[in-house]
């Protein structure tokens, strides 16, 4: 029974998220809206974590299997990808390095400023 309840709650948030997404003209995917709604509902205590824990952990722990079927669409695109696979890999590698470097430095910078502020506070 808890599996049905847990799944029902998650589906309800998915449905609510989808409806809000339609109202926003599909600006943000319904599932992402549902995720935020669920997060807020858990924070406010509207939903008890133990109600959904079992199903939610099953879903997030096995995400990979849910997108394997869609990946097979690659078979029909093979000829297209073959033409520019080097550029494709280049974008992936370089962009990942860019994101890593900028986020890493941003946090180092913010932590440095935070520490300086703390030190100033101690000096007074």
């Amino acid at each position: 029974m808890d599996v049905i309840i847990g799944f029902g709650i998650i589906m309800a948030f998915f449905a609510a998220g989808e409806c809000l997404s339609v109202l926003m003209g599909h600006f943000i995917p319904g599932s992402v809206v549902g995720m935020l709604l669920l997060f807020v509902a858990l924070l406010t205590g509207f939903i008890k974590p133990r109600r959904i824990e079992k199903v939610a952990h099953f879903l997030t722990g096995n995400m990979t299997i849910f997108f394997i079927p869609a990946v097979m669409g690659i078979m029909d695109l093979w000829g297209f990808i073959k033409m520019s696979w080097l550029g494709w890999l280049g974008v992936i590698v370089l962009s990942t390095i860019c994101v890593m470097a900028t986020t890493g430095y941003t946090v180092e910078g913010v932590r440095f400023l935070q520490r300086q502020k703390e030190r100033k506070g101690e000096g007074k």
Binding site: V32, T64, D76, S95
Partner: protein, 230 residues
């Protein structure tokens, strides 16, 4: 007759589940967390479909039940965020700034690099959400008309590249703060980066895991705005 049996829905569904279980088993046995089950499963299923001459579209349609679960699994990430609420509270400012910078750099760098490499628009739309976890990236790609198959593979490759070379890149760049390392690994390489970050340290892992969901939200908002402007 054999072809009819092989192409029936239960066999097509069973193929996905069976191959996935095999991939998870291989990863557990090899103890290599970087061996993403997707990268093991995909070639096996492709081989099966080619050998028995089954069209990819037939396989995808037969598996729509499994694909549908992608939506609920993204919703379930709300609980993951809730479970990490203490980490959010403690490191709110550094994590938020990392996510904002990371999502902007992720989308803009893909746009500029796609131009530079003169890649087709199809790659651009599929790659824009590539720094976030696969299910969210696929939902975002669907929203902007990108190809979800290219998105999923690109995201996995980003994760793999960052998971393997991330610690080395951060060392070369002299990024040492555990929160900075965690944020960089999670923002650039989502789940696979987080698996590696957990090996580095508990704090790195917690921050990295948190950045996955937050990067997803930030990118989901940013991508349509960016496409409207450019």
């Amino acid at each position: 007759m054999i072809h009819e049996m092989l192409t029936s829905t239960p066999v097509m569904l069973g193929l996905t589940v069976g191959v996935y279980l095999l991939a998870v088993w291989i990863r557990t046995r090899s103890k290599l967390m970087l061996l993403n089950p997707m990268l093991i499963s995909v070639p096996i299923i492709i081989a099966f479909l080619l050998i028995f001459n089954i069209p990819a579209q037939h396989y995808i349609q037969s598996n729509s039940m499994i694909s549908f679960m992608l939506g609920p699994s993204v919703v379930a990430l709300g609980l993951t965020m809730y479970e990490q609420r203490m980490t959010i509270k403690e490191y709110l400012l550094p994590i938020l700034s990392a996510v904002v910078v990371g999502s902007i750099v992720g989308v803009v760098s893909v746009y500029l690099l796609c131009r530079w490499f003169q890649l087709n628009e199809v790659f651009l739309l599929a790659l824009e959400p590539k720094s976030v976890t696969v299910p969210i990236a696929m939902e975002v790609a669907k929203g902007i008309g990108g190809n979800t198959a290219i998105t999923a593979i690109s995201v996995a490759l980003c994760g793999l590249f960052g998971g393997i070379f991330g610690p080395l890149i951060l060392k070369v760049l002299h990024v040492k703060n555990p929160i900075a390392v965690g944020a960089a690994m999670g923002s650039a390489s989502h789940g696979i980066g987080t698996a590696r970050a957990i090996e580095i340290g508990a704090l790195e892992g917690a921050v990295s895991g948190l950045c996955i969901a937050l990067m997803g939200v930030a990118t989901a908002v940013l991508v349509p705005i960016f496409n409207a402007i450019v």
